[in-house]
């Protein structure tokens, strides 16, 4: 148990270090000069050189890397090249927005996937199960941004029930916050829900074929009771793995969905940073995303152990 924890922590830290080198290297080879973008079209080479010096871009790459890394370890994300304000608070503000979106999307995905997947497994030879299965296949094929556009056209533009886009912080106006959250969360959640449904279905199907479930039925439990008491926890192990991967997908999907719904989250911050060549900001945001994904995987690893006692003894 302890060994496994140490091993997982090691993997987590090494992945983080390798990612930081990759992210930095990628930014360094990205074409386009931040100083020239900031100074505009007619800037003299001298002015550009001065600004590069001010940004610290004229220093050797290893120096730039270790300075950046040192800052990160102290919680200092640096100052934006373009807006000249501290990056840390900006990332923190935007992350809150994105987290609302991701969490709401995840909840919708789970609410859709667990009952639908279980039902599909329980009725996998019946018409209703097959029909549900077909619907979920369609869901898997639709990208989140397209779902978003369709939802906007139907529920905002045609029916006028919900706003087409925008964002209001929950503390400012909770009603408006919820109204504006519904469509983007659905766009993210329904698509992920469709994917998750497939996994829930196959996990439950596997469990249904297990001997212990037959034993449970034999001692007189009804099919649903057997599944509830003995099956679901076992089915949860593979589903949790997928859920972890999906959280990462949701985070990335949010980048696109934020664009469609004009939501000032981490994704729009990232895209703006790329187009302004605000490289330090981009580096920081990408590292935050990487950290989030690695952290989720780490937690998923730990959750296995909690869910499945066999893994505890194995170590």
């Amino acid at each position: 148990m302890i060994l496994r924890l140490i091993e997982r922590t090691g993997v987590f830290l090494v992945s983080l270090a390798v990612s930081s080198v990759l992210v930095f290297a990628f930014m360094a080879v990205l074409p386009g000069d931040p100083a020239r973008v900031a100074l505009g079209v007619n800037a003299s080479d001298q002015a550009v050189a001065e600004l590069r010096q001010q940004f610290g871009l004229d220093r050797p790459l290893p120096t730039q890397y270790f300075d950046w890394l040192g800052g990160l370890l102290h919680g200092d994300l640096g100052t934006s090249y373009v807006s000249k304000v501290a990056i840390g608070p900006q990332v923190f503000d935007r992350l809150q927005v994105t987290l609302w979106l991701v969490v709401a999307g995840m909840i919708i995905a789970l609410v859709v996937a667990v009952p639908a997947g279980t039902l599909m497994a329980a009725r996998h030879r019946k018409l209703s199960g097959l029909a549900l299965s077909a619907v979920s296949q369609v869901g898997v094929a639709v990208p989140a941004f397209l779902a978003g556009i369709l939802l906007i056209v139907v529920f905002a533009v045609k029916l006028g029930w919900l706003p087409a886009n925008g964002w209001t912080p929950p503390a400012q106006d909770p009603g408006m916050f919820l109204k504006q959250l519904i469509l983007p969360a659905l766009a993210l959640g329904l698509v992920q829900g469709a994917v998750l449904t497939r996994y829930v279905r196959s996990a439950v199907l596997d469990v249904l074929r297990e001997d212990y479930l037959r034993t449970a039925r034999a001692k007189g439990l009804r099919p649903f009771q057997a599944l509830w008491r003995h099956g679901l926890r076992n089915a949860a192990v593979p589903v949790v793995t997928v859920l972890g991967l999906q959280l990462a997908t949701l985070l990335i999907g949010a980048v696109v969905v934020e664009r469609v719904f004009v939501i000032p989250g981490l994704g729009s911050l990232l895209l703006d940073g790329v187009s302004n060549r605000d490289l330090l900001l981009v580096q920081d945001v990408v590292m935050v995303l990487v950290l989030a994904v690695l952290l989720v995987n780490f937690i998923v690893d730990l959750l296995y152990v909690a869910l499945d006692p066999r893994l505890r003894t194995a170590s």
Partner: protein, 506 residues
């Protein structure tokens, strides 16, 4: 003297992207509406725009979005352009010019106050003018190089002496270069702008919107709206949807002209169409051997059917121009007849110059109009016997470095949206690499002469460019605004750098 500048410039940025190439923003109002009338209580307005500023400091960050939001609204200039493009008083009540055309004396208003509570005086003007040379970093600051000295004769009188006569200088003073700052208000320009204008900067929700509120201490007539929100949209469809669902009241710059029909067919909305300063230029790298031959350049111009091109790639919205001058400039002439569409002649010119069959590299920025028009240009040039290889460069970063700085291209397409930018775009140092002493002679004479000489020489310069086929002017970007029917004071033409919020009313 003042009348010698009959320019209009304006325009707001016509395309999301155009912005890094500078731009101009709406200014002049036509319907007048609530300009200066009694303020509309606590009424609010929301305007959808396409490019969010990267910073609020236009002294060190280029791009059209910052002056679009702040100039004329938060910051004011000594002189500004009126609806007809004439230079008129703003913070300067009047001014005189010495007989040698080098010394300008401005009489300033005595009741203007900065939003930090400080009185506006001639010392602030001296400070602001000097600061352009010392603290600004964007390239536009060069417009102030011609100033030899400036001094405050009294708290309300300012004298500026130029090193040589320059018609252009006073015009540039209507742009962001002429913005007046408070000596004690420049410590946080990027986040906390302090000006004398009709609006106060209130809040910036990064990634979303900028909120301005009426400056109730404004020295001039107070604006109608108590609060105006500028909301920024990356996506043209999202912008349209926001108006359709009443999230915003105005689309400041329509990004997808092909989608206009959903508004024109609905009487809840008004659609305003006018001109801008945004010349969409098919630029030639004049330093490349293939472009040294006048016949090749002329052939390219003649191979393009401009009317068909405009219809195909920009839904027929926009105006055909034959040179680098928008119709709102005093020296505008219709030069579309200089190189009319003539495929047969284009073919024979290419044969004669030996360029037929050669491959030209058309390097396009990732901007909507460039991408769609680039394909049309390619097919038209290939019909005339050239080969065209298109590649796309991310705008602004990659395009700026490759095409703009390194001039590693044969042809490109970009809208030049600065006002009066003929001389800036066509010279040997610029990415067009156009070295033409005759043109430079006309431009120098225009800058130093009187009003008549300026107009005459600028006309010659524009004609020279067109006849020499220094590039091809595909069309002029339209100013397209869609708004709720009851909004008044929106500009027909977008020929200044700012979107004038003070004239809007309901």
């Amino acid at each position: 003297m003042k009348s010698s500048f009959r320019i209009r410039a304006v325009a707001f940025v016509a395309s999301a992207a155009v912005l890094a190439l500078t731009a101009c923003s709406a200014g002049s109002s036509t319907s007048g509406g609530g300009s200066g009338s009694s303020p509309g209580g606590d009424q609010k307005l929301s305007i959808g725009l396409v490019a969010e500023p990267a910073s609020l400091d236009f002294t060190t960050t280029d791009g059209a979005a910052i002056p679009q939001a702040l100039l004329g609204n938060v910051y004011e200039t000594l002189v500004k352009q009126d609806d007809s493009g004439k230079i008129v008083p703003s913070l300067a009540k009047s001014w005189t010019v010495s007989p040698d055309r080098k010394t300008y004396t401005f009489d300033l208003v005595d009741n203007a106050k900065f939003t930090n509570g400080k009185q506006f005086t001639a010392n602030d003007a001296v400070f602001s003018i000097n600061r352009v040379k010392t603290a600004w970093t964007i390239s536009l600051k060069a417009a102030m190089d011609v100033v030899a000295s400036s001094k405050a004769l009294s708290p309300t009188q300012l004298q500026v002496t130029l090193a040589k006569p320059s018609n252009d200088w006073l015009f540039r003073m209507t742009t962001r270069i002429g913005a007046m700052f408070s000596e004690s208000g420049v410590s946080a320009l990027a986040t906390d702008p302090v000006g004398t204008g009709p609006f106060k900067f209130s809040k910036w929700n990064r990634g979303d919107s900028i909120v301005m509120v009426r400056n109730d201490d404004y020295w001039g007539s107070k604006p109608f709206f108590q609060q105006i929100t500028l909301k920024y949209f990356k996506d043209a469809t999202a912008l349209n949807n926001a108006l359709l669902t009443s999230t915003i009241n105005v689309i400041g710059t329509v990004q997808a002209p092909e989608a206009l029909s959903q508004f024109t067919s609905n009487d809840k909305y008004q659609v305003i169409e006018g001109t801008t300063n945004g010349e969409v230029l098919l630029s030639f790298n004049n330093s490349r051997p293939v472009f040294k031959d006048l016949r090749t350049r002329q052939a390219i111009r003649m191979a393009i059917d401009h009317k068909a091109l405009l219809d195909t790639c920009w839904a027929g919205r926009g105006k055909l121009i034959g040179s680098m001058v928008p119709p709102t400039d005093p020296w505008y002439e219709d030069l579309t007849g200089v190189a009319p569409f003539d495929l047969a002649k284009a073919k024979s010119l290419l044969q004669a110059s030996g360029a037929a069959g050669k491959t030209l590299r058309l390097r396009l920025p990732t901007l909507p109009y460039a991408t769609s028009c680039g394909q049309v240009v390619k097919s038209m040039l290939e019909q005339a016997g050239l080969k065209v290889q298109i590649d796309q460069l991310e705008f602004p970063a990659a395009w700026l470095t490759t095409v703009f700085k390194n001039a590693d291209y044969d042809m490109s397409i970009i809208a030049h949206v600065e006002p009066r930018d003929l001389g800036a775009v066509f010279n040997a140092k610029y990415y067009t690499r156009y070295d033409d002493p005759t043109l430079q002679g006309y431009l120098a004479a225009a800058d130093s002469g009187d009003e008549a000489a300026q107009v005459d020489n600028m006309k010659k310069a524009a004609r020279r460019l067109s006849e020499q086929a220094a590039g091809d002017w595909l069309f002029l970007l339209p100013n397209l605004i869609v708004a709720d029917k009851n909004i008044k004071g929106l500009p027909t033409n977008a020929i200044t750098e700012n979107f004038d919020l003070s004239k809007l009313a309901r």
